[in-house]
């Protein structure tokens, strides 16, 4: 150990106690690369798209980012804990379908449906967690199974119950206005229309950051993702931590699902497929390692923001739409590369 320590007067100090400058501390944050990437994307579109910098545009970009960001938060936490959830995209749709169809079929107050949906969604999250910890199969397989089953259930049950592949309108039912206010309202701040999902998103990022950095559960998440066996050896309840993380994904899927329901009032049962990858991409751009043990909630938010800026910036720039997906892919790849490059530079100068 002494051979690798600096040869000056710090020789006898444990390297973990070394004082690092605030700048270096900042550079070591997992989300740094994504911040630089976000700035680059922001500057790029500010230059090429003149309507990008308008205040109203900011509201739209933030909305697009928030619908991804709400789910990217728990997905990032889950990835830090070393697991995946491929069912997260369709779970959002399932959650919306349950509240809509329960309220409609029972002719119940909409809030009853919303409550039932929370219980059902959490139960699906718990199913993922229990299956994973009981069978010890990779989460990729478990949640792929759940993904396929939910996709089928969404279509099959909706068709069976409603007779069509989309739900019936519940906009004329009791409780709808108050639920809409909570999940899908819009506030005007300084002339800019901001969707309530942005508040949910910021709130979730704050709570998740607090959990990760200030609570025992947060330590468990890092420990479980860094090495489950080592964590178990020092007394971390690995199974409970993982089930808790899947419950977190389910809870956020419930919030997203209710937003989907109350902003459009009718839910298409085939929606949501493919979104799970977008959540994972946002978490990865935000600095989460696919192998687990490293990442942050704020990073996932910045990842979602980059995604929102890119997908909408292309529209503001009025580029030929034939190339839309290509631009999107290239921007995402560039942002991630920049992110990785900066992290490497930082680690080299440590």
């Amino acid at each position: 150990m002494s051979s690798t320590a600096p040869a000056d007067d710090l020789d006898h100090v444990d390297e973990r106690l070394l004082r690092t400058s605030p700048l270096k501390k900042l550079l070591a944050r997992p989300e740094l690369g994504s911040v630089v990437g976000a700035l680059a994307v922001f500057l790029f579109f500010s230059v090429v798209a003149d309507s990008f910098l308008r205040a109203s545009s900011l509201g739209t970009v933030l909305y697009a980012a928030s619908t991804i960001g709400i789910m990217a938060v728990p997905v990032a936490l889950l990835m830090i804990g070393g697991e995946f959830d491929l069912s997260a995209g369709v779970l959002v749709t399932s959650s919306a379908l349950v509240s809509s169809m329960f309220s409609y079929q029972m002719t119940a107050n909409v809030w009853v449906g919303v409550g039932v949906s929370l219980l059902v969604t959490l139960a699906i999250g718990a199913f993922n967690g229990f299956m994973l910890t009981r069978t010890e199969l990779p989460s990729f397989i478990i949640t792929l199974g759940t993904f396929l089953m939910l996709t089928g259930l969404n279509l099959g049950l909706t068709k069976l119950i409603s007779g069509t592949v989309s739900t019936k309108t519940i906009a004329d039912m009791e409780g709808f206005p108050s639920a809409k206010a909570l999940f899908a309202s819009q506030v005007t701040v300084g002339g800019v229309d901001l969707k309530v999902t942005i508040l949910w998103w910021f709130g979730l990022v704050a709570v998740a950051t607090w959990i990760l950095l200030r609570t025992r559960f947060g330590n468990w998440i890092f420990a479980v993702g860094g090495g489950a066996d080592a964590a178990r050896a020092v007394g971390v309840p690995v199974h409970r931590t993982k089930i808790g993380l899947y419950l977190g994904v389910a809870f956020c899927a419930w919030i997203s699902g209710q937003h989907l329901l109350f902003s459009f009032d009718v839910v298409q049962s085939g929606e949501g497929v493919g979104n799970e990858l977008i959540y994972i991409i946002a978490a990865v751009i935000g600095g989460c390692l696919i192998t687990g043990g490293y990442g942050s909630a704020i990073g996932s938010a910045i990842g979602a923001f980059i995604f929102g800026m890119t997908s909408k910036g292309i529209v503001y720039a009025e580029w030929n739409p034939d190339w839309f997906k290509f631009f999107l892919g290239a921007m995402l790849l560039l942002a991630t590369l920049l992110n990785a490059w900066i992290r490497k530079r930082v680690e080299a100068t440590k």
């Binding site: 309507s51 697009a64 068709k159 503001y316």
Partner: protein, 325 residues
Amino acid sequence: MLAAALFATGLTACSSTGGKRAEDARKAAAAQGRAAVNTPRWTFAMVTHSGDGDTFWDIVQSGAKQAAVKDNINFLYAHSDEAQQQAQLIDSYVAKNVDGLIVTLAKPDAMKEAVHRAVKAGIPVITVNSGSEVSQAFGALTHIGQDETVAGEAVGEELDKRAKKKALCVLHEQGNVGHEQRCGGVKKTFGGELQNLYVDGTNMPDVQASIEAKLQADPAIDAVVTLGAPFADAAVQAKKTAGSKAEIDTFDLNPKVATGLQSGTLGFAVDQQPYLQGYEAVDLLWLYRYNADVLGGGKPVLTGPQIVTKDDAAALLEYTERGTR
């Protein structure tokens, strides 16, 4: 906490408005079908290029099922948005030796061999929805559907009639030939400028945000045309947020479009009457088996486009709610 709230509201928390109760009342008035003929119980199968959970194909099916009940037909349905799998589904129905086959030709080249095998096996084939230009060459009896380009042209003319200058065509599935034909048709007849916008149809908030962004980027846009009914509502909300004055118009109908037309949030809708495509396909197959009748002399039978405006909306609302328009 929410569970507690649930208990507090208890089971008495019923909604006195809307919901299934209101629907049941409506349904009680609607007539139920019964076989009207005593021909043998033939089996007809339908194979479409629909993706999972597509509202449009749901309406086609309900038309086909209604005709099947009336004509004493055993009706089978299968779908896949992958051309190769769609062809395999046709093959399996040919192997089952069904009495009639209804297929869509969204990707005609991939379907050619399978349709030929069906015709060779002596199974009468009718094509619906897409593929009017190749239907006859493949050996089908006839084609029932809307010419997508013609439908687009009708939209272009209607936009001109409404004195629109700059329109946006919102495509919710990149690479769908029919979608390109529709927007191409609009471009052909529309006097103003038309731009295409591609959105991710499986992600509704994203659809809304994309349209919002486009309207903010170009305030000169005075008309938005969506290619599917569910996307019209997203466009209406995007317009509100973007503070745009554009008129929202759409292809296809659903209950929300009908109410939107009624309240004036939507300008017009162009309907290709999917119910008719399913209904006529089954009925014409029955006529062929029973009486060797062929409608239209093998030429395509058009089911659209029909332009639907505020004046028609009230009558259509009831039909869209029961899923037949």
